[in-house]
């Protein structure tokens, strides 16, 4: 990945995504900030995809080291906790929010 153009594309995506994040999040009212925090938390659980990719390259790199396999499994586990826990707890909070007519 030495291609400078490619790096510039990724940087562009990164910067634009930050702006999108600021725009979208600044419209969320304080009332919903706790569920917002746990939902964004779940979204950065996408790191589990990185952990999966890393695990595969570890297995492809040859060598058979139980210690490193455990490290890779731990990375996937932590990422999965982040994803599944984050979305579940947000759902649990939001299902309690009801309007006057909603009951």
């Amino acid at each position: 990945m030495t291609d400078v153009n490619h790096l510039l594309t990724l940087l562009t995506i990164f910067v634009l995504a930050i702006f999108v994040g600021f725009e979208v999040i600044s419209k969320v009212p304080t009332m919903l900030h706790t569920p917002l925090m746990s939902a964004t938390n779940a979204i950065h659980g996408i790191v589990v995809a990185g952990a999966i990719v890393a695990t595969v390259s570890l297995f492809n790199s040859g060598g058979n080291d139980a210690g490193m396999t455990i490290v890779a499994i731990a990375a996937v586990t932590l990422g999965a906790i982040n994803v599944f826990g984050g979305f579940s707890v947000t759902e649990r909070m939001l299902e309690m929010f009801r309007g006057k007519g909603g009951r």
Partner: protein
């Protein structure tokens, strides 16, 4: 096939952004969370299909184990413990980012140690450092909020010097790693990992328990950043975009929270606020006994029952006493008599922004009865009774008028503008900021002393008996 995968990733990204967008109103928030979860499902299926083959069993173990732990914790956690739960999940994400760095480094060593591409080496080391700080820091934040360790700031002479030295060693080792294109000795790499973890611990230790929500939010944005940088490392737009979204969101929340507490972010992070030796004990003990009027539950019940508009002002004290269900029962009794009941929610009521809304939602209070700071302040002048339950500093009129007060300028609920103010309080102890509250001495204020839950239950019984 790659094109299909890339398009699916694009769908996932669109679903994340739409999901966050729908989180902007309580009526659509649930849909938003589900859209984001569907996006995550698509993204994960894509990566699993793409990488299927060798090592699948290790990945399966991780996903099943992590999924089970995550869901189990989400079902079991009490709503009052939400801030520390968010801290733990966040730490998990940061830890994953750090371990990815370790795995990729070992893969590089096994490849025979040709020089690392500069983009990969920079992003590997940066995401590992930020992830480690986030992981270790979140665990300390969890321990403080769960009260497994003292919530007071832990400082010692020269702690800032020690922190600075550790931070500088992290930077130095990282520069060495990048400059040598990954060819530094193996101990150097693991020393870097250890130093980054230590920095996370040292950074959160001196921050007081009451400021933890700001820290959690900041660490949330750190993890987002670590994930985005990991995206550069493994060349994944998905990680870059998700990380950037979360980084932006965490930053907004951090700044909002500091503002609502009338503090600068620097003061929160480096001020060791609430440590012994500040104004706290002096103001509480040395101040003249305040001249306050105490009333009985029966008197307050009459006042409430014949009011036309009652504003309930809940604070952290209500959550501690677990009184939200009792408060809801009182509101139901009043509404039965035709009294209009609203709740005034300060941005930092509870232990993090929006936490009080969740606690009241759990007690079945409909969200349209919850007013935010501006809405509530517009209502106070026409409110007959403001019932302050376990809130203190956020109702202190000194924030508006007394220039020398440490909370001067902090946005507050103008409770004093209501016709009558009833303050439910255990004793005359001052609040978190350690400042006397002149609200209690106003002629339209009366105090109802006792445990919040017991007092509210007594009020409900008295209103019922009328």
């Amino acid at each position: 096939m790659t094109i299909v995968f890339q398009l699916l990733d694009l769908v996932a990204i669109a679903l994340f952004i739409l999901g966050l967008h729908f989180l902007n109103a309580p009526s659509t928030a649930r849909l938003g969370n589900r859209l984001a979860a569907i996006g995550m499902f698509i993204a994960l299926v894509v990566v699993l299909v793409q990488t299927m083959g060798v090592g699948w069993w290790a990945i399966a173990i991780g996903i099943v184990l992590g999924g089970a732990i995550g869901v189990f914790a989400a079902i079991r956690v009490k709503m009052t413990a939400m801030p520390q739960m968010v801290a733990l999940y966040n730490g998990a994400g940061g830890g994953a980012a750090a371990l990815i760095g370790v795995v990729e480094y070992v893969v590089f060593l096994r490849s025979g140690g040709a020089a690392l591409d500069p983009i990969v080496s920079v992003s590997l080391v940066v995401s590992m450092i930020i992830g480690s700080i986030s992981f270790a820091g979140s665990i300390i934040a969890f321990l403080k909020l769960q009260e497994l360790m003292t919530g007071r700031p832990i400082t010692y002479p020269g702690h800032q010097v020690v922190n600075a030295i550790v931070a500088l060693s992290v930077v130095a080792l990282a520069v060495w790693f990048v400059a040598s294109a990954g060819a530094l000795p193996v101990w150097g790499f693991f020393l870097l990992l250890a130093a980054a973890l230590a920095l996370g611990v040292l950074f959160v230790m001196p921050i007081g328990g009451a400021d933890m929500p700001v820290v959690i939010s900041l660490l949330n944005s750190f993890t987002g950043l670590a994930v985005a940088v990991a995206g550069f490392e493994i060349d994944s737009e998905l990680l870059i975009i998700c990380g950037a979204l979360v980084g932006a969101s965490g930053t907004i929340l951090t700044v909002d929270m500091s503002k609502a507490m009338n503090r600068s972010l620097t003061n929160v992070l480096f001020g060791a606020f609430g440590s012994a030796g500040g104004s706290e004990p002096a103001a509480a003990a040395g101040g003249a006994p305040q001249n306050v009027r105490s009333v009985s539950a029966d008197d307050v019940a009459v006042m409430l029952a014949y009011a036309s508009k009652v504003m309930i002002v809940p604070g952290y004290g209500m959550a501690v006493a677990q009184a939200q269900h009792s408060v809801k029962a009182l509101a139901d009794q009043l509404e039965k008599r035709g009294v209009k009941v609203f709740y005034a929610i300060h941005p930092v009521a509870g232990r993090m922004p929006g936490h009080m809304n969740v606690l009241l939602a759990e007690a079945n209070v409909p969200y349209d009865e919850l007013l935010d700071l501006d809405e509530a302040n517009a209502e106070f002048p026409t409110t007959d009774v403001a019932l302050v339950i376990g809130a203190n500093d956020v109702t202190n009129p000194a924030a508006r008028s007394v220039k020398s007060s440490p909370i001067y300028g902090m946005p507050i609920l103008d409770v004093d503008k209501a016709k009558n103010v009833i303050v439910l309080k255990r004793s005359m102890r001052s609040g978190f900021a350690g400042i006397d509250n002149p609200l209690y001495e106003l002629p339209n204020t009366a105090m109802l002393f006792g445990d919040a839950k017991a007092s509210v239950d007594a009020l409900t019984a008295a209103v019922k008996a009328l």
